[in-house]
Point group: C2
Chain length 143, copies 2
DNA sequence: CGTTATGACTTTCAAAAAGAAAGTGACTAG
DNA sequence: CTAGTCACTTTCTTTTTGAAAGTCATAACG
């Protein structure tokens, strides 16, 4: 619960230079991708909103993951009030780029785990458009 | 290191019915996806081959993850010798369907983490062809 | 002024998981 | 008979988790 690092270059945690291994250094745990999901799909911004997520984050874990994600450059926090200072969190481009990973996990879960909820029609395309289509030249996937 | 479950229906571990949350119940840790990577991309089959992976699995962790993946139906083990019985491991269709998740992690890692190795040209398409194009009727991506 | 409430964390601590290393069982080779 | 190998399993110490309580700044109430 204490050590953190930027993890922006390979091998920082003693692993190989494999992009999968290095990506897992950031999101290879039970909670981190759920925080990203809440920020990306569910429009949550504040600590309290995230705490009310259906997943029931332990508060210390949530605080820790937000810090790690900030250190890794996947999210930024900005003060929305002073005295006491409170922050709102939002994903950076590096964070929203996680979308394709989330999307494939949704598709895999829907296909292979009974009882998982399916996003409404067009939901994923909407985000793909917004995130991938909106910021970069698009390219891969779907013609 | 002891409890295991099939986790083939949602909510088994007290989480929401979200497909991301439920997929993370299976692969939301540091090692599991690396084992799948070794089986899927690197052609490893035997316990000893997996142990020689660049990631350096602790042997007890590797044994545990293989069991969990088998319980979840992502891999099967088959004996390749008797006395003593030894097994070889290979992914099921449910396991190889993880490919798109791995692919997106490779792309994300290559884009955002300096120093990660890039697969050779055509590598991912090759697998997409083999796995997605080969087993199901799906999109066939280019004839 | 004193008390209660709220939001956003932080600290504490018991329990669970990870990980290093040594052990086990069934052989095979020398 | 002794040493070596493969595929795990067990033991044990360290680290991480996670439930719950605590903290801090401020607002609202009486």
């Amino acid at each position: 619960m204490k050590k953190r690092g930027t993890a922006c270059t390979a091998n920082e945690l003693g692993r190989s230079a494999c992009p999968i291994a290095n990506t897992l250094n950031l999101i290879g745990d039970k909670w981190t991708l759920l925080v990203i999901r809440d920020l990306l799909f569910l429009g949550k911004r504040l600590y309290g909103e995230l705490m009310q997520s259906a997943e029931g984050y332990p508060s210390n874990i949530l605080a820790d993951r937000l810090k790690r994600l900030e250190d890794a450059g996947l999210l930024e926090k900005h003060p929305y009030q002073h005295n006491p200072v409170r922050y709102e969190y939002h994903l950076t481009a590096k964070g929203t780029d996680m979308f394709p990973i989330l999307r494939e996990m949704i598709l895999w879960g829907n296909k292979h785990i009974e009882g998982t909820t399916t996003p409404p029609p067009g939901f994923l395309d909407h985000f793909a458009q917004q995130i991938v289509g909106g910021r970069k030249k698009t390219g891969r996937k779907k013609g």
